[in-house]
Amino acid sequence: MKTILTGNYAVAEAVKLSRVKVIAAYPITPQTTIVERLAEMVESGEIDAEFVRVESEHSALAVVYGSSLAGLRSFTATSSHGLLYMYEMCWWVSNARIPLVMAVVTRTIGPPWNIHTDHTDILTLRDSGWIISMAENAQEALDLTIQGFKISERVNLPFVVGLDAFVVSHTAEVVDVPEQDLVDSFLPERKQAYVISPDDPIAVGNIAQNDVTMRLRYDMAKDMERSKEVIREVGDEFEKKFGRKYGLVEHYMTEDADYVVVMSGAWCGDAKEAVDVLRSRGIPIGLLKLTYLRPFPKEELKELEDREVLVVDRSFSMGHRGILGLEVGNVLDCKNVIAGLCGVDMGVEDFVEMFNRFVRGEIEDVEWWLK
């Protein structure tokens, strides 16, 4: 059914369609409307789940860790400072190999206080063992949340869906909300590697020898690598059922492009329009959107080896480059523009100017797009 939804409401719909049993979250702008909508759904009986009103984000993830350990499909959502406050639990959940899904509405980290988009918050998860996806729009936020449960429960790693503050979270768009029956046929009953139950006196998370702990990290690394195949398979299956294609990356006019821009998140929409403008002037440029940042789509990027590549980053690693610039730079040579940090608005005209300069060879190795 096509309807009008904001990104946050689309995530809430996806949580409902995924038949989640436990939701725990603490409000933070701009994630709050996800939590409010879910609380409303639980109160009205629209969804058969428990909503736990926690006193902090650390407890939000701790509660859904507990319920997930018991085998219940669980969900939480946060943003920026909330994500940093729950950071310890993020690592605990992934190292314990517990599948669950979290939405992160990407937001600037203070000070000064700033509620607008920036990808540095979600990218603090990149070494932690979470599968990291980024939605371009409300439809993708919904679709990735549903796929997230399936992928997470197949590889026993937690899954995060990123959506840009306000640009996606609070912007109402046309969203195709799938029928419950169809989602049920796509998303099976929850499975996980182990379940805590009163009859089975196992210990989880107790002290282990160093070599055992290292072996656990090795297994995680292998499963994270294996998740690439799972993400592709689940994406193909999703396309067959729902008609929308998903994979680790999305190609936009890259096939014959000499110049390729690599980006992630909401602003890919504006960048695609800028690509259209340059194409209309006969410039062979395309865009590769990173739908997933973990696992990192190395193979897809390697195919761009003989092209000129520009990475446009909404995040920065102090003392080095943009975070995506660093990551892509490990696979192939690229230029790196740091733009739109702290919610600085970037429109089609900015990208037209930036891409023109890139094609003319005027972009420096690392360049800040200050406005």
Binding site: V52, S59, Y65, L72, S197, P201, G205, N206, A208, Q209
Partner: protein
């Protein structure tokens, strides 16, 4: 009727000699099929090393400040979810503890309080006694001891009690009663620690009983009605208590304490008694 107290803690576990937690953990045997959530602390060590476990029930080890919240999640699937934590966990996870009580989560929280951060080497905590020496209060703690059980009582939860490893029958009965109530249940267990308090490891129970007999630790419970329990009923009359000095002088952490400070502690203890007795009248 005396309760049968079993021993879910297996022989060969790595607790210190005279460890109060290893005594206290036995009381969990009166619960049917508990799932036990343990944050960082001495019990992390006592519970044993992967792939073995020294406890006969499922144990979920969790980060320091998270225990009541993880237990809340587990309680969405099971009854008899128990948090076993120390005063350190109750300090760093105080918001988590308070939030869980406010939600009236269907869990039992037991704080086994040895009055300092013992697992990291005896650092002062919120419940460390005034003037007690720890590695971070080498000349004696200057701040007041907080009364965790009374703070939890003010959350208006269905069950709150104090207990002592010196009186296991009283403690086990409280655990059993807590197990029969739904909602948030809290037991504050007094757990004298031989290396932390500087007394001989054969004297844990003796010191624990001196704390109660001197009135420095008061056994009570609230289950809709507030009442003194066990040995503390006899200590209502100050004349029937042993001198507080006897309890203090038996511990190395109070070595060199002045007579004035002993008097001051006696005054503080009297104040707690006044408070507890007025609660008894009010509730």
């Amino acid at each position: 009727m005396r309760l049968e107290i079993g021993c879910p803690l297996l022989p060969g576990n790595p607790s210190c000699q005279g460890c109060p937690h290893s005594i206290g953990l036995k009381a969990l045997s009166v619960l049917e099929n508990p799932i036990v959530v343990v944050p960082a602390g001495c019990t992390t060590i006592i519970a044993g090393m992967h792939p073995k476990s020294s406890l006969k029930f499922p144990v979920v080890h969790v980060p320091f400040a998270s225990a009541p919240a993880v237990a809340c999640g587990l309680s969405k699937a099971y009854d008899n979810v128990v948090v076993w934590m120390g005063d350190g966990g109750a300090d760093i996870g105080f918001a988590t503890l308070s939030g869980s009580a406010v939600r009236n989560d269907n869990i039992i929280v037991i704080v086994s309080d040895n009055e300092a951060y013992m697992n990291t080497g005896i650092q002062a905590s919120g419940t460390t006694f005034w003037k007690a020496k720890t590695t971070t209060s080498p000349t004696g703690k200057r701040e007041e001891k907080k009364d965790l059980a009374l703070i939890m009582l003010m959350h208006r939860v269905p069950y709150v009690a104090t207990a002592s490893v010196g009186y296991m029958h009283d403690f086990a009965q409280k655990v059993k009663k807590a197990g029969e109530i739904r909602g948030f249940r809290f037991i504050h267990l007094h757990s004298p620690c031989p290396p932390g308090w500087r007394f001989d490891s054969s004297k844990t129970v003796e010191i624990a009983r001196m704390a109660v007999k001197s009135g420095a630790w008061i056994l009570w419970e609230y289950d809709g009605k507030f009442r003194l329990t066990g040995a503390s009923r006899k200590c209502r009359d100050k004349g029937k208590r042993i001198p507080i000095e006897e309890y203090l002088r038996a511990q190395g952490r109070f070595r060199g304490i002045s007579d004035d400070d002993v008097k001051e502690i006696e005054k503080k203890v009297d104040e707690v008694w006044n408070l507890v007795e007025s609660l008894e009248k009010m509730f």
